[in-house]
């Protein structure tokens, strides 16, 4: 029999510490939707998604009310559209994004990810068409997310793609300038993208995935923060143990929900993604966990070490709690979506350079960072290249989701609303990377890619 303390502990996590399941994401293969006629392809995509995911939101809501755990988002990830659309003769893929948007509205999910292309070694014709369509597709839709993989440890970095993404991000920012360039919040540039990530904006349904699958992303920065308050001033061994135990509990909940959702939907269970995903709500911040470890403000010296410990302990605690762990699995540091990060960036304590260092030791990368609207495309490309290099050399996923906020500069604020939050605009280096970005070509894969 469960005892009172255990039950109260769980209720407190749910009630006061913002414990939730961040997302149930259904991965759907669209490979059978190919058609030379883009409108026929769009119709097939719409039909397939609305058929596979028609019960997704209802099942999510049912589980939420029966188990009493909030399930914040129900989402869908699809096969990279550049692959699905390769047979299309049309040069603009915007109609496919519009079909995805229509499907999202019909089934009631808040994002569909997978308007994506994998170009780490080079472009297909279709990859180019997709990237050229991005400014139009992402400004014509609200709930469609895109990711472009420009590097892997095995293939190196496609610097032509890096250059192209710099200009694409700028163009997308310009197209959505009336809403603080929010279009860029839906576009992630990856190195070593994973095929089963349930989190947006980077979710897509990889080529090695089954027809349909359920992946679940857990959350819980507030619970970890609260647990650490019981070990104030204690050595780091105890901090790590406390994080591990907490991560175990959170992940067990994720595993339960994932299996239950998969069973009810009649779809295989894929992975639980053990990520600490913050929200802009007070008490749900990764930055505050780092500060609880003894830092005056996130971004000061010691932040990288604190984040390294946190990221590792979350994985160690979580991995025992789930039968299959995957996705990004680590701590997220999206600046605009984390109340503590917003505060730290606002006071100038958290800089782009420090964030770059932090991405070496946690999952993903430079995420939801607002930069001045007049940042040159070549500078954005160079930031992407730096981040891709970190991912390539360290065998890890890194990403850039940078928002050059048109018409705004350092000291001003970009406001996106909802889970995307708001971000103070932080400076980039003023010195040019123009000649660097202009070179193009490929940065070769590192020696340790030759593992066979």
């Amino acid at each position: 029999m469960l005892n009172t303390n255990e039950i109260i502990q769980t209720i407190e996590m749910l009630d006061q510490q913002h414990l939730d399941i961040r997302t149930i994401t259904m991965g759907i293969s669209l490979l059978d939707c190919a058609d030379a006629d883009i409108h026929a392809c769009a119709e097939k995509i719409y039909r397939k998604i609305t058929r596979c995911a028609k019960n997704l939101v209802k099942v999510g809501c049912d589980i939420q009310s029966e188990f009493g755990i909030p399930i914040v988002n129900k989402r869908i990830a699809v096969t990279p559209i550049a692959i699905v659309a390769a047979a299309c003769t049309a040069s603009d893929y915007t109609p496919l994004a519009v079909a995805l948007e229509r499907a999202a509205a019909e089934v009631g999910v808040n994002f569909i990810g997978g308007f994506s292309a994998l170009v780490h070694k080079g472009f297909t014709e279709s990859d180019r068409k997709l990237i050229d369509s991005l400014p139009s597709a992402l400004s014509a839709t609200e709930h469609i997310c895109s990711s472009i993989n420009v590097a892997t440890t095995r293939a190196g970095i496609n610097m032509d793609a890096v250059r192209l993404m710099g200009t694409t991000v700028k163009e997308l920012a310009e197209r959505t300038k009336d809403a603080d360039s929010i279009g860029c919040a839906k576009l992630t540039v990856f190195a070593n993208a994973v095929e089963d990530n349930p989190f947006m904006a980077g979710a897509f349904h990889g080529m090695g995935e089954p027809e349909c699958v359920i992946n679940v992303g857990v959350s819980g920065p507030g619970v970890v923060y609260h647990a650490l308050q019981s070990v104030k001033g204690r050595p780091f061994d105890e901090v790590a143990e406390t994080v591990k135990k907490t991560a175990f509990r959170i992940t067990r909940m994720g595993q339960l929900v994932a299996q239950e959702a998969a069973r009810r939907l009649g779809v295989p269970f894929g992975v639980v993604d053990l990520s600490l995903a913050p929200t802009p709500a007070v008490g749900d911040s990764v930055a505050r966990i780092l500060e609880e470890m003894g830092l005056e403000v996130c971004g000061t010296h010691g932040t990288t070490a604190a984040l390294a410990l946190l990221n590792d302990a979350v994985k160690k605690g979580g991995v025992m709690a789930s039968s299959h762990v995957g996705g990004l699995s680590g701590a997220f540091i999206p600046v605009s979506e984390d109340e503590g990060m917003i505060a730290a960036a606002g006071m100038g304590a958290l800089t782009l350079d420090k964030l770059e260092a932090m991405t070496c030791v946690c999952s993903v990368g430079l995420d939801m960072i607002a930069i001045p609207g007049d940042t040159p495309a070549s500078t954005i490309s160079a930031i992407i290249a730096d981040e891709a290099a970190i991912g390539m050399i360290n065998n890890k996923t890194t990403a850039c989701r940078l928002i050059p906020v048109v018409g705004k500069g350092v000291g001003e604020e970009a406001v996106f609303g909802g889970l995307l939050g708001s971000a103070p605009i932080i400076p980039v280096h003023p010195y040019s990377s123009e000649a660097f970005a202009a070179r193009g070509g490929r940065i070769p894969a590192p020696l340790h890619s030759l593992r066979n």
Binding site: E6, T10, I11, D62, E66, F67, I69
Partner: protein, 90 residues
């Protein structure tokens, strides 16, 4: 048997147990175990119940309990037992 946990937290007052139990009885819910304590001035009751014979949906049941509790400044929730087992039992 479909086991669930009912938790009632709030200011102590006359008739909490009687009220909750009669609501549950109306919905054909069998109470398997009750523990009740005062924690930090708050009345805290935990009941294990069997909802197998309950004619209304879990969602409706939860809403009914919540509404009844809200009128008395009590937080009442019902959750399936599995969530607590997952978190606290290996």
């Amino acid at each position: 048997m479909k086991k669930a946990i009912v938790t009632v937290i709030g200011k102590d007052q006359v008739g909490i147990i009687a009220g909750v139990c009669s609501m549950l009885a109306e919905q054909h819910i069998n109470v398997l175990d009750i523990s009740q304590t005062i924690m930090q001035d708050y009345f805290t009751m935990i009941m294990m119940v069997d909802t197998a014979a309950c004619p209304v949906s879990f969602e409706q049941l939860g809403a009914m309990l919540e509404e009844w509790g809200a009128n008395k400044a009590l937080s009442i929730r019902i959750q399936r037992e599995e969530i607590f087992n997952a978190m606290h039992r290996i």
